[in-house]
């Protein structure tokens, strides 16, 4: 069982490493943050505009929670792919040569860092929804 799990991870790792990483995928995690941020803001603003100043926020908590979990999950996938790319083998350290491997590794490291920042920012965005009780 343990070995099957290990080989499964190796398979996924290999798949993620074969993926063609580009500038578009590099900006995927912050784009997910942006989508989550806009969704939360617009959804809450429309709710409060239509339901009135004294309306509670329980009605939208579920949607914002689901959006947050989805966004974090997607960022997690991006982070896994980026992490896998940052481990592509072939060149000696310090990995800043003009080679295919080093370019792939660089985009992987930068993508992983961006995924981390985006995850923190998504949690930051969700916090007000968890802490504030009504539309005032």
């Amino acid at each position: 069982m343990m070995r099957r799990d290990a080989s499964l991870i190796a398979t996924w790792l290999e798949r993620a490493q074969r993926y063609r990483y580009s500038l578009w995928t590099l900006v995927a995690p912050p784009s997910i943050w942006a989508a989550h941020f806009l969704f939360c803001y617009v959804f809450a603003a429309i709710h409060c505009a239509k339901a009135g100043r004294l309306a509670g926020l329980a009605a939208i908590g579920v949607e914002i929670g689901l959006a947050t979990v989805t966004a974090l999950g997607l960022v997690g996938i991006c982070a896994f792919v980026a992490w896998a790319q940052s481990r592509v083998e072939g060149d000696p350290p310090p990995h800043h040569e003009s080679t295919d491997e080093d370019r792939v590794r660089f985009l992987g490291v930068a993508g992983l860092l961006l995924a981390g920042l985006s995850a923190v920012a998504i949690v930051f965005t969700a916090l007000p929804a968890a802490l504030i009780g009504d539309c005032r």
Binding site: F37, A44, R103, F124, P128, L131
Partner: protein
């Protein structure tokens, strides 16, 4: 892979770079090709990035000195209580023009100017991909800038504050002609910003030297890329806002008038969606200068290269989630404020990452003391204080106390002077030898720095206190005895001390022509721009386009400078008498083709002058002159395009050096022109999306939107919008068919399809206007009618432009400038048609379908 001395053996036709006579002949040809135009007038038609960059930078610095002088007048007025140096009305003009000039005419243009000046050198390129576009941007800036800044000498300057809030600024009787000058003049300057953004993005992505993969790009180029993309998303909402604002002022369409369904807060949203990213658009390029300066004076590679890239991209994104923190005092729900407060705190993370990587690099290297580093250290100290007060005002309850007080004035000046002005002066001392071949005086530089550093803190730190004591910003005077007299006197003294520092720098610059040349690469830096020769300022840029294997090639690649100088890399010659660049792939900088750039021409200047005239004439309601000039601008631009773009080369490919044979032509996504069209249309679509945002904003604030049908405000129904959408869609399909037919060599079919496409697109635009026309929508009656008219007119104007493009492509085909293989024009028109079809579809969904559902 280094230049192979045996290459000549494998490529028998290659010139012998070991022969000095061969090299001299190549240099003579390059010099002739890149020679600037001469003559009293013609020299101003230059388009080379060296010339445009210098003029642009000088003009932006002149704007800074002008706006700084306005600030000194304000500080003189506020030195003592109950002062009467200037009137309240003049004071309003002073602070409005000070803010507007600093933000729109100095801070953003200086980024574009410096980038146009040094980016090609950083990338080992001879020029940027669209030199005439740079020239057009510069002349637009010069004309628009002088128009706005000069207004104060006619007592006609804008006076509503640099963010021009309605209803004060939309009411002509309250705000006079100044608000129109602001709106139209600065909109015109914004157009030049977007032009520069297009130029710089394509420059960074496609004009890097072979081998300079993304992981080897100088960090300045990363920042340019991020900032230019930010401009694409930040400026269009402001342009959309400007359109609504001017329509309210000129035609009384009530977008911001609450009595007729409008809302002044919409302007605040549109303004700050631009206005907050703007702060980072100003700040990031200055950090970028430091990312070049710090490794040089630390004598080592910058630490944490991917971390800096993370920080640049992360800041770029997060900065778009901060705009509402300028609107905390407007009474929006606490939850909305919470979201923006959270993002405002989160952006501190990538900002701090950048500062820590710089400090770590200094720490890990061997510091060489120098004037640029002195400015860097001072800037960091000032910026960090501004950042800390920023974290304070990002907390909504604190902001309610500090809002519109001098605390905010102190905060924003600490951020902008620490984050932009001081780094730029550091960059001036660093890059002056690159541009002029002469160093500035270290002694005067140090004196200037200390005057500025002390003056700034003496001037602005007390404002924190006077703000917390309740002194509001933008008041022209204050009574004695409030406990703020001494604080204000200190602020005034500090401001003049700071100005004395700036004056010392100006003196230093004026002394520069009398000084001897500095040695080549005076700072012993490792990046490509220092290949420049101090004495022979050649307009060709680099002698040969190098092959890059390191982030700091001058330090790391053996015999690098000699190989470049002896023309042992790419494009060492100009055999065909053309100005040439190497275009490389986005990720890995693999050489793709040779791009021939345009030569000096008067057309960009003419286009800017006529287009600027349209904006200026509209300001004074001279619509006849405006329409005449619009036709002149149109003719000039078509003339420019017809004679200068998509030129079919005389042969398919050429030897580019090192045995490499590159095509002389590319089309579609491989070409730089396609990318320019794509980037422009992204910006255009963001502006359209901002108008759609306006529609839905009105929907959220009204209980019923669209309002109950009454004469004058009954919607256009779904039929006309559907017809418009279908016709534009048909035009889109016909354009696609034309591209296919042309690709298969079926010329007649392509021409026929383009003619059909032009007809359908034009009819689609008219049908879009027919909807609100037949419904009798009166745009002055209610905001619903006005916003529907705006959306329909937007699509109609774009359909008209699309029709022109389709006719242009048809004419190019008939004149045989477009062939089956050389179809760049047709592909770019097709790309435009994609975006037009998308906008027509959205307009149909919003104006035709949504009212039926709402």
């Amino acid at each position: 892979m280094s230049p192979d001395p045996e290459a000549a053996v494998t490529n028998p036709g290659a010139p012998d770079q070991d022969d000095p006579a061969v090299r001299r002949a190549q240099e003579a040809r390059l010099r002739a090709v890149w020679a600037p135009p001469k003559g009293v007038f013609l020299r101003w038609t230059d388009t080379n990035n060296d010339a445009i960059g210098k003029w642009y930078t000088l003009a932006a610095v002149a704007m800074m000195l002008f706006a700084g002088t306005l600030a000194l007048v304000m500080r003189a007025q506020l030195a003592i209580p109950d002062n009467d140096l200037v009137s309240a009305s003049t004071y309003n003009q002073l602070f409005t023009l000070h803010g507007s000039t600093m933000m729109f005419l100095f801070a953003v243009p200086i980024f574009e100017a410096v980038s146009i000046l040094i980016l090609p050198a950083l990338l080992g390129a001879r020029d940027l991909p669209f030199p005439r576009l740079s020239a057009f941007g510069f002349w637009s800036f010069a004309i628009g800038g002088m128009f706005v800044a000069g207004s104060i000498f006619f007592d006609a300057a804008p006076d509503g504050g640099w963010f021009m809030y309605p209803p004060l600024a939309t009411e002509p009787s309250q705000s006079g002609i100044g608000a129109d000058i602001w709106m139209l003049g600065l909109s015109f300057v914004d157009v030049s910003s977007i032009a520069a953004a297009v130029e710089l993005i394509v420059g960074v992505l496609k004009c890097r030297p072979p081998g300079m993969r993304l992981n080897l790009m100088p960090l300045y180029a990363w920042y340019v890329l991020v900032v230019a993309v930010m401009i694409l998303f930040a400026f269009p909402p402001l342009i959309a806002g400007d359109i609504l604002f001017e329509l309210e002022r000129i035609a009384d369409w009530p977008f911001f008038d609450a009595a007729r369904g409008g809302d002044s807060l919409l302007w605040q949203h549109l303004f700050w969606i631009f206005g907050h990213p703007e702060v980072y658009i100003i700040f990031l390029p200055s950090i970028a200068i430091f990312a070049m300066v710090v490794p040089t004076f630390s004598r080592r590679h910058l630490l944490g290269y991917p971390w800096v890239v993370l920080a640049a991209i992360g800041t770029g994104f997060l900065s778009f989630g901060l705009w509402v923190h300028h609107m905390f005092a407007t009474g929006m729900p606490a939850l909305s404020q919470g979201f923006f407060s959270a993002a405002s705190e989160a952006v501190a993370i990538p900002t701090a990452v950048q500062i820590f990587t710089l400090i770590a690099t200094v720490w890990a290297g061997e510091l060489v003391r120098s004037t640029p580093m002195l400015f860097g250290a001072g800037a960091l100290a000032i910026f960090v204080i501004g950042g800390l007060t920023g974290v304070m005002v990002a907390v909504a309850p604190f902001d309610w106390q500090a809002h519109d007080t001098y605390f905010i004035v102190a905060h924003l000046h600490y951020v902008l002077v620490g984050g932009a002005v001081m780094p730029l002066f550091g960059g001036l001392y660093y890059y002056w030898p690159l541009v002029t071949g002469k160093k500035l005086s270290d002694r005067l530089g140090r004196i200037a720095f200390w005057l500025m550093f002390v003056g700034f803190n003496v001037g602005f730190f007390p404002m924190h206190v006077s703000g917390l004591m309740g002194m509001p910003r933008r008041v022209y005077t204050y009574p004695a005895g409030l406990g703020i007299d001494a604080l204000n006197l200190a602020s005034t003294a500090g401001a003049f001390l700071f100005a004395a520092g700036v004056a010392v720098i100006v003196i230093d610059l004026c002394l520069s022509p009398r000084r001897p040349h500095s040695p080549r690469n005076p700072w012993s830096a490792g990046t490509l721009e220092w290949l420049a020769h101090p004495k022979s300022q050649e307009d060709w840029g680099v002698r040969s386009v190098p092959l890059i294997e390191s982030r700091y090639p001058i330090w790391d690649q053996p015999a690098f400078v000699r190989n470049v100088d002896e023309g042992r890399y790419f494009l060492a010659d100009a055999e065909e008498g053309k100005r040439e660049l190497v275009i490389t792939s986005v990720l890995d900088a693999k050489p793709l083709h040779v791009h021939r750039v345009a030569t000096p021409s008067v057309k960009p200047m003419l286009a800017a002058a006529t287009l600027g005239g349209v904006f200026i004439a509209t300001t004074y309601h001279g619509y006849l002159i405006a329409s005449t000039l619009a036709i002149a601008a149109f003719v000039t631009i078509v003339w420019w395009l017809w004679t200068g773009t998509s030129v079919i080369p005389e042969k398919p490919a050429k030897h580019a050096g090192l045995g490499l044979v590159l095509p002389l032509h590319a089309t579609g996504p491989a070409s730089s022109g396609w990318w320019a069209m794509f980037i422009t249309m992204v910006a255009d679509t963001v502006a359209f999306a901002s108008l759609v945002f306006g529609y839905f904003y009105y929907w959220t604030i009204h209980a019923q939107f669209p309002p109950a049908a009454m004469p004058g405000i009954a919607g256009p129904g779904w039929r006309w919008p559907a017809v418009a959408c279908a016709l534009v869609g048909a035009g889109w399909l016909a354009t696609l068919a034309a591209r296919q037919a042309n690709g298969r060599g079926f010329r007649a079919g392509a021409c026929g399809a383009l003619a059909l496409a032009a007809l359908a697109t034009a009819a689609g635009g008219v049908a879009g206007l027919a909807g609100p026309w037949h419904a009798g929508l009166e745009p002055q009656a209610h905001v619903y009618a006005a916003i529907v008219w705006v959306l329909a007119s937007w699509v109609a104007a774009h359909a008209a432009l699309g029709t022109v493009m389709q006719i242009y492509a048809l004419a190019r085909g008939i004149a045989r400038h477009t062939t089956g293989e050389h179809d760049g024009d047709l592909r770019n028109v097709t790309l435009y048609a994609h975006f037009l079809a998308l906008q027509a579809l959205v307009a149909f969904a919003v104006t035709g379908v949504f009212p039926a559902l709402a």
